[in-house]
């Protein structure tokens, strides 16, 4: 994902569409979450990111709205794992972690 990061606040969240898509969340240490808003996500990306905002301040985010949210999610996670050698913290140790070897270069 190459879009610019935005601070995660109530104001910026209000601009996020309530559609399906993929997003990343970061804190000062780097990316801490990669996830998607799918067909069952209430209020789409906005609703999914609200859950992260509720955890507290200091986070930033970026997103892509895409109908291919599952395949894009799995691609972004696999590239992240290949680049960093470890899964994003929100998926570590879960059965939801996509496994694979996609790397862009």
């Amino acid at each position: 994902m190459t879009k610019a990061w935005s601070p995660l606040t109530a104001e910026t969240l209000a601009e996020v569409p309530a559609t399906v898509g993929v997003f990343e969340v970061a804190d000062a240490s780097g990316v801490i979450g990669i996830d998607y808003a799918g067909g069952h996500s209430p209020f789409g990306l906005r609703g999914a990111l609200q859950g992260w905002l509720d955890r507290g301040p200091g986070l930033s985010f970026r997103y892509e709205r895409t109908n291919a949210y599952l395949s894009r999610f799995r691609e972004v996670v696999q590239v992240f794992v290949n680049d960093t050698g470890e899964p994003p913290p929100n998926l570590a140790g879960t059965e939801n972690l996509p496994t694979g070897r996609i790397r862009q270069n």
Binding site: G38, G39, H40, T66, N67, A68, Y69, L70, S71, R72, R74, E75, Q78, E95, N96, T99, G100, R101, I102, R103, Q104, N105
Partner: protein, 394 residues
């Protein structure tokens, strides 16, 4: 042609239908509507049940532990297995085993030990890499991936596109040109390539109308494989791929028909409960005719596809029949789902129902495994060259 199903076929249909309704559809209530995968622990539980049913590794011959089904029975089951939301590209989420890699049954004993048996045990998975950026419908001419011999080894260079499962597979069957540029179909060889071989990269997901099940783009940069990685004979890869593609088109067509049946059933139910302008939808002639057209499409497609299956079982050439089945089933099923959406109105295009997913995925079926136009070329060639005299003269 005669399609009186025997008792065994009826029992198998009943078992698979019950499995789909009792095990698969309830699971989908909790899944994202585009999902094509189950958590490993859930899938393992389902596979225990299909093994108990004697239907795990559905496509495997009996000597390899499979049920050894004939093509007609396999086709009937494919029509049942696809009747759920993810059923078109992920029939029962793989609970009946992985996609068949029939070529591996012809492998050497060493290759079988290393690849086939682990696949049959569910320990390894594979991908099938034929299509390239230059095209997929005419692989004999479009394959530009090259394999050059270097001592006992081969060095593979090239790019493959629209390859499913390569990001998580353990190995793949990779088709590369070993002859010169003019060698056509005689110059293509199949190699078994381990996914951890240096130089092999899954470069990206190719995002499509589907979301849960996705193709990828592969790059081979000086990928070195031993001579023992050749599957079959050097220069005979095209024949191997062609045989696989032809036979696979029968369950491929049948899966489309299963989805059409499920969509048709939803449309009939909805027409009976939804009222507009003071009448049930089912009382409007426009809706009645759509339902009849669906019935015509489904029956035609099922009969043509079962005919192809019966022909395949007969030992006679069946390429023409399979091409016809692929055309009729994919095109007719697309029309059925389209009408079912129309009958449902706005709800038909929501993710609350499986119809919109089937609509998107069926559009791909008219292209995958050889486009409608390629299938028409196959049929017309056989007709014009006198290899096929027509239905009544078979």
């Amino acid at each position: 042609m005669g399609f009186a199903f025997n008792d065994v076929q009826r029992a198998l249909i009943h078992n698979v239908r019950s499995f789909v309704r009792n095990e698969i559809i309830p699971l989908e209530l909790e899944l994202d509507p585009d999902e094509s995968e189950l958590r490993p622990s859930v899938l393992d539980g389902l596979r225990v049940k299909t093994k108990q049913m004697g239907l795990y590794n559905l496509d495997a011959p009996e000597e390899f532990g499979g049920p050894g089904l004939d093509t007609v029975t396999r086709t009937l089951l494919a029509m049942e297995m696809s009747q759920h939301r993810a059923g078109l590209y992920s029939a029962c989420y793989g609970a009946f085993g992985q996609p068949d890699m029939a070529q591996l049954y012809e492998a050497t004993d060493e290759q079988k030990e290393r690849y086939l048996h682990p696949v049959l045990r569910g320990e390894k998975s594979s991908f099938f890499a034929l299509t390239e950026p230059a095209g997929g419908s005419d692989p004999a001419r479009s394959i530009q991936t090259r394999a050059k011999q270097d001592g006992d080894d081969w060095i593979i260079n090239g790019t493959k596109v629209f390859i499913s499962g390569a990001d998580s597979a353990d190995f793949g069957l990779v088709f590369a040109r070993t002859g010169d540029r003019e060698s056509g179909r005689e110059g293509i060889t199949c190699f078994i390539v381990d996914a951890d071989t240096p130089g092999f990269t899954v470069r990206r997901v190719i995002h499509t109308l589907r979301s849960g099940h996705y193709p990828t783009e592969l790059v081979f940069e000086d990928v070195r494989v031993p001579g023992s990685a050749v599957l079959g004979e050097v220069g005979q890869g095209f024949a191997m791929a062609s045989e696989r593609l032809t036979k696979n088109r029968i369950p491929y067509a049948a899966g489309c028909i299963g989805v059409a049946m499920a969509a048709h059933r939803l449309a009939i139910e909805y027409a009976g409960i939804r009222s507009v302008f003071g009448q049930k939808l089912a009382d409007h002639e426009g809706i009645q005719w759509m339902l009849v057209e669906n019935e015509i499409d489904i029956r035609s497609a099922a009969l043509v596809t079962l005919d192809a299956a019966e022909r395949a079982d007969s030992g006679e050439p069946f390429r023409t029949e399979v091409a016809l089945a692929k055309i009729v089933a994919t095109e007719a099923s697309g029309r059925v789902v389209d009408r079912a959406i129309q009958i449902h109105g706005g709800y038909g295009v929501t993710k609350d129902l499986p119809l919109e997913r089937w609509y998107r995925e069926l559009r791909i079926r008219r292209i995958g495994e050889g486009t409608t136009e390629t299938q028409k070329m196959i049929v017309s060639r056989d007709l014009l060259r006198g290899r096929y005299a027509g239905l009544m003269d078979r």
